[in-house]
């Protein structure tokens, strides 16, 4: 992992299109601005992990569970 030291107000460039701006440092909190193209998604890691974890759980669904769920939910035409 590359470790850089930056001061408040300084930036980091990743490739041509991604810029990370250190907006403010106060105590143990850093306020960071991120400029990235629309097709690059940026999330707080904990949010990203929560969605990832839920996707993993959803992917465990079995045909039997689907059958039981479908019976409870009913048909599209009902």
């Amino acid at each position: 992992m590359l470790i850089l030291t930056r001061k408040s107000g300084e930036m980091i460039a990743i490739g041509d299109e991604i810029k990370i701006y250190i907006q403010e440092i106060r105590g143990n909190q850093v306020k960071i601005g991120i400029k990235a193209p629309a097709d690059v998604t940026v999330h707080r890691e904990e949010v990203y992990l929560r969605i990832q974890e839920e996707n993993r759980l959803a992917a465990k669904a079995t045909v039997e569970q689907m059958q039981a769920a479908a019976e409870l939910v009913g048909s599209r035409n009902a």
């Binding site: 996707n55 992917a59 769920a69």
Partner: protein
């Protein structure tokens, strides 16, 4: 009539749940970046479970990857999402009519326990069939919303053991 040996209008995949399936190429949904945690799967098909309101989103790149999905409006009529303009632009969506929203379901052995991930819906351009899973930032939704909260509450009140 001679049969075409390689039918390019069909994408075939061996799945773990449904055996070999053939997806018409014009029904293939491309999810940019895949689903979070599964970046290698980008091509999917909606696979019906009979005529249920629930369907499978089956990967065409990994036969073992499929998730139950549904139209959130069927269960959460007040569900309202705000998608950032640049995210819509990446899908070339210009009006709300072009947008299809689906949510992923997590099933459990007791169907009353099934939940919908309202925090990370999938948005798809209805005609281009290009979409992505988005993460809603400032929305009051979580990754686990019960579809039938009343049902579950009732069951929890029932005695576990009859005396």
């Amino acid at each position: 009539m001679t049969e075409n040996p390689v039918d390019e209008s069909v994408v075939a995949v061996e799945t773990t749940r449904f055996g070999r399936i053939e997806a018409p190429a014009n029904k293939v949904i491309h999810l940019l970046g895949g689903l979070l945690g599964y970046p290698k799967s980008q091509r999917f098909i909606l696979w019906n479970h009979e005529d249920s309101k629930l369907r499978w989103l089956q990967s065409l790149d990994e036969g073992s990857l499929a998730m139950p999905v549904t139209d959130p409006k069927l269960f959460f009529p007040d569900y309202h999402i705000k998608i950032k303009r640049d995210e819509l632009a990446a899908l070339r969506v210009t009006s709300a009519e072009e947008l299809v929203v689906m949510v992923i379901l997590s099933l459990r052995d007791d169907p009353a326990e099934m939940t919908a991930n309202l925090k990370g819906p999938i948005i798809i351009h209805a005609l281009r069939l290009i979409g992505r899973q988005v993460v809603l930032k400032d929305a009051p939704y979580s990754t686990r919303h019960l579809l039938f909260p009343e049902l579950r509450a009732t069951r929890l009140r029932e005695p576990q053991v009859e005396l």
